[in-house]
């Protein structure tokens, strides 16, 4: 008796369906983040005062969080390599390290937002801060979702199950990293 086909592992278009699905998600995410960032850039260029507001963000915190995400992306791609070799235990450990990076990112963000909100820079203070919290908040929600999915993936990888999913969550995580790569100069560097 043949095994039941699994949708996520079959290949319908020259690419495993799961990988195709994550690229499709990324394409839709580009539109979401692109719309937010495009709107931000328009207002930023049109309103001189936004440079003053942007001067209140802390570039060192942005730098630290960018470093954390880049390093977590390294762990994610190394996990993928381990999964390619069939080493589920190492893949799981590297995914846990990636989750640690995501958690550290969120902790830094919480510290940063706590400081800003306590100093009157709230989401309703003005349109700049509305954009700031919306863009960074949507991104943080994606980090949280990635960490949760990665914890499940790591637990499977530890048992050498569904190792192909290590690559899938990795691609998603790298995309979250790419979004932050653009948020960093927009929100923290360009004053």
């Amino acid at each position: 008796m043949s095994a039941t086909p699994i949708a996520t592992t079959r290949s319908a278009a020259g690419i495993p369906t799961a990988r195709l699905a994550v690229w499709w998600i990324i394409a839709s995410e580009i539109v979401i983040f692109g719309g937010v960032l495009g709107s931000y850039i328009m207002h930023r260029l049109a309103h001189g005062i936004w440079a003053d507001y942007a001067a209140n963000t802390n570039p060192w915190i942005g730098l630290l969080n960018t470093f954390i995400l880049l390093t977590s992306s390294l762990a994610a791609v190394l996990a993928h390599q381990a999964a390619e070799r069939g080493d589920g235990a190492r893949a799981a450990n590297l995914l846990y390290a990636t989750c640690g990076g995501g958690f550290a990112f969120l902790c830094v963000k919480a510290f940063e937002w706590n400081y800003e909100i306590s100093h009157g820079m709230t989401i309703t203070a003005n349109t700049f801060w509305s954009f700031y919290y919306t863009a960074a908040g949507i991104h943080a929600a994606h980090v949280i979702a990635g960490v949760i999915i990665m914890l499940f993936t790591a637990s499977w990888a530890k048992r050498n199950e569904h190792l192909h999913r290590v690559e899938i969550i990795g691609i998603y995580w790298h995309f979250v990293d790419v979004v932050w790569i653009f948020l960093f100069p927009l929100l923290y560097i360009a004053k």
Partner: protein, 137 residues
Amino acid sequence: MSDHADHADHGDQHYIKIWGYLVALLTISFVGPMAEIQWLTLVTAFGIAVVKAYLVAVHFMHINLTPRFVIYTVTTTLVFMLLFFAGTAPDVMKAEGTNWVKPAWIEADRAYAAGEVGGRAHGAGHGEDHAEEEAPH
């Protein structure tokens, strides 16, 4: 499991090397704008962001190993983003046009130019009370 045969050719050292490049670029993108020269900020902050994104997409996401229709799909969404920008920027970025005007924006710009409002904090990085002042629209 992945069907990317090329992945096996990359040892862990390759990815660590790419990560090293990314961290070096991050450092440049952080230090460059400190010179406060506009063109240098554009190049180091935003130009390098594009390079970093390219490195991640190619070396970590392996987008170059996916079928071309995937690359076309992703590129199409980027083009849509540019269309959105081009289509809305003429309205969003101007204070007035044919038969329409944004009086609150014009007044806010005047106040900002006159130094009556400002959002930059005193001293270092984080802001103080100025953050609660109104944006110019």
